[in-house]
Amino acid sequence: MTSDTSAEMALTGLRVLEVGTNVSAPFAAKLLADYGADVVKIEQPATGDPARRHGPFPDQEPHPERSALFLALNTSKRSLTLDLDTPSGQAVFRALAATADAIVENTKPGTMEARGLSWGSLVESNPKLVMTSVTPFGQTGPYATYEGPNLVEFATGGQMHMTGSPDREPLKNGGYMSDHQAGLNAFSATAIATLGASLHGEGEHVDVGAMQCQASVLEGAMPYWCYLGTDSSMRRGNIMASFIGIYPCADGQIGIHAMASNWLPLLETIGMPELGDDPRFATQAARIENNDELMGIFYAWAAGQNKKEVYARAGETRGPIAYVHDMQDLMDSPQLQSRGFLQTIDHPETGPLTYVGPPFQMSETPARFGRAPLLGEHTVTILTEAGFDQTRIDELRGEGVI
């Protein structure tokens, strides 16, 4: 990877406006920015993105420039403060949108229209404009204006019903995974729609709803229900079958995921090659038949194991085993270190911290790792680039619009 920030990146020249708060739209725009787009993040004057108040913070001391959530989700962007609820702010936005390639936003459906900033009105002066709206339920339908934070998205998207133990309450994934999921969808949808605009000359309003993003990826459960009328979506805890499950070990958890072809390598990894001759476990069907016995064997074996030793042995023997990595394991991972995945990014308010890297590596156009912007750090630069003179900028500041 090159560290030359002037190098041509995948999205060099793509101009993006982000009207985003918290996770979904900011994550989408962060990915666009890391791969080279010029992302102008529009924040409310004085308060900024609520993610700035989220944390965690160094020494647990809240500070708008030191929130881990904000820092992680806003790399490589520029920050413009602009009050979009004022006519002057809306006029500035329209000027910026006239030369933008894309807008990524996660306001409640109807908000951009109420501000006179709908895609339909903006595209009149910029026919190739793409707007991606990422929301819990999408722009239309009876739930369009329902409140849908991450937990509610997990509930209504179908993933939560499938997560956790069958005799206990359903679980969301840790962190803000549904918001990230929606944001990742919005990233790819925006990349595709802006490509389409440049290939075919017409923009688009892309409506990404978290509910549909989740309902699309319920593994076999949705296809089987749709086609056969059998519902297999009930949650099954940590063990799908004895050979697909998470087992506690001496210093953590080991995950086994064996297809039929991995049975013998699995036995070699766990040091029980003799089970290869055991008729109770001779085929995948027999292993399901004798599930509880096999599960008992795996539980007893795992309890005495060290996760990193097992993983190394699995690598040598091609056993289908990994272990549950926590943040420290990610930090220490020889694989991630070798690939340069984790990045150290310096920041004037926090000093250097460790960040996760890009979701994929591009041979000709590596991603960049710019820090998150301070609130309004680029307001004057961006307005000047857009042709506003100092007098007008001072007026806007006087009105509290920037």
């Binding site: 999205l11 989220h54 992680a72 009876p142 849908g148 937990l151 509610v152 509930a155 209504t156 179908g158 939560m160 019903h161 997560t163 956790g164 679980l171 840790g174 990742l184 790819s188 729609a193 802006t194 490509l195 389409g196 017409e202 688009e204 309003h205 892309v206 549909q212 993003c213 319920l218 296809p223 749709c226 086609y227 056969l228 059998t230 979506s233 009930m234 958890q253 039929a260 991995n262 085929t283 993983y311 091609r318 056993g319 289908p320 990994a322 549950v324 990595h325 420290q328 930090m331 694989q335 991630l336 926090t350 911290l353 960040y355 890009p358 979701p359 590596q361 591009m362 041979s363 156009t365």
Partner: protein, 419 residues
């Protein structure tokens, strides 16, 4: 002239199988790309064998719903890449493609002699995407990593589970579709660059890294404090109440829950009013967000007392009408019946010559001025051999017959595999 879908005119040769890769190419197909899925008689997508259908079902491999959902909007051809003639034909096809995608284990394409350098020799601006579990480089590149392993490696599982207990797997092999979603974006990024410069490139997507992009704030937080976060159930870091509450069962099979997530004082006051506990709104134990967070366990009983007497959908609707963030926990059955998804036209009828007619989910993303749809059912095995090898590559009928006789192409998979 009707508006074009964004990826119309882009052709993708798709060697991916199972879920992560096919989900990527499904998204590309949904958005208008011409996706040509390549399997072979010897090496076919094992989802064809996972249809939950009786083994004696005729042409079972064309009727797997699992396969058919993941591979709609694609053509399908068969080609044995281990056969010299198969390799030649593949390289001929690559000349006519914009993108090649594969999700074999790291060393497989190298062993076949179909690595990026080989593809670039026949098509200098080709874009190639590899998406193995660990990536193409590094000491763990050849380690096996299937479905559930990826989220374990990514850091996601360490954060998921009941508070203070062992980490839990998530409901799906979460790493697969997220890697697929990222890969669809990767293709678009590479096409942006090729559009501007005329140059192709190689993309190395490690599924575990693509999913680790979701633990960004946890990693930054860890590097601030060196404290390793663990499972926290359904709790939020500081909002409360924030959890799921039992509802009234419709029948014995029912597992009814509603999620409630208050993020402001106003939402909490509204919740108290809806559940008929207005006193809680003025109770000093719940006066501020910090108070509610500290005493959140105390709120579980009065909320559950209200939800228990209600249908989960009615509870969601009543709470949302009052401005309280709430969502019924929906099963696949609930989703196909959902008034929201019905209103949005998400479910589309699909007809396949072998599998029949049924409804499946439409494209995940709505293009508001030019909606995308399921244009093609998933390919039956080898269904488009004539299109790919005859029409695109100019092979005669006699040549196709000879290829079939030599086992280079075919229309029936060797079902002895994947058992």
């Amino acid at each position: 002239m009707s508006k074009q879908l964004p990826l119309e005119g882009i052709r993708v040769a798709d060697l991916t199988m199972v879920w992560a890769g096919p989900y990527a190419t499904r998204l590309l197909g949904d958005m208008g790309a011409e996706v040509i899925k390549i399997e072979s008689v010897q090496v076919w997508d094992q989802l064809r064998g996972l249809g939950s259908l009786p083994p004696e079902t005729e042409r079972r491999y064309n009727k797997s719903a699992y396969f058919n959902h993941n591979n709609r909007n694609k053509y399908g051809a068969t080609l044995n890449l281990r056969h010299p003639r198969g390799k030649e034909l593949f390289l001929e096809l690559v000349k006519q493609c914009d993108v090649v995608m594969e999700n074999y284990r790291a060393e497989v394409m190298d062993r076949l002699g179909l690595h990026y350098e080989a593809l670039r020799t026949v098509n200098p601006d080709i874009i190639m995407v590899s998406m193995p579990g660990h990536g193409k480089t590094g000491p763990e590149r050849d380690y096996v990593a299937y479905g559930t392993n990826v989220e374990q490696l990514a850091g996601v599982v360490s954060l998921t589970g009941y508070e203070g207990e062992q980490p839990q797997k998530t409901g799906i092999s979460f790493g697969d579709p997220m890697a697929g979603t990222a890969a669809a974006g990767a293709v678009a990024l590479a096409l942006h660059y090729r559009n501007r410069t005329g140059r192709g490139q190689y993309i190395d997507l490690a599924q575990r890294e693509a999913l680790s992009a979701f633990v960004g704030e946890q990693m930054v937080g860890y590097s601030m404090s060196q404290e390793t976060p663990g499972p926290r159930g359904n709790k939020h870091p500081f909002h409360a109440p924030h959890g799921v509450y039992p509802c009234q069962s419709r029948d014995e099979e029912d597992d009814p829950w509603v999620a409630i997530a208050c993020e402001s004082d106003a939402q909490f006051v509204a919740l108290c009013a809806v559940i008929g506990e207005a006193d809680l709104a003025t109770d000093p134990r719940f006066a501020t967000e910090a108070d509610r967070y500290r005493n959140q366990e105390t709120l579980a009983a009065p909320i559950a007392a209200w939800t228990q007497g209600r249908d989960k959908m009615a509870a969601m609707e009543e709470l949302q009408a009052a401005g309280v963030p709430a969502g019924a926990v929906l099963s696949v059955q609930d989703l196909t019946a959902s008034p929201q998804l019905r209103a949005r036209g998400f479910w589309e009828s699909v007809s396949d010559p072998d599998a029949g007619t049924w409804e499946m989910e439409g494209p995940a993303w709505v293009l508001t001025s030019n909606p995308a749809h399921v244009r093609l059912p998933a390919p039956n095995f080898g269904e488009h051999n004539q299109y790919v090898f005859g029409e695109l590559l100019g092979q005669s009928a006699a040549e196709l017959a000879a290829l079939e006789a030599a086992g280079v192409i075919g229309t029936e998979p060797d079902m002895g595999r994947h058992t």
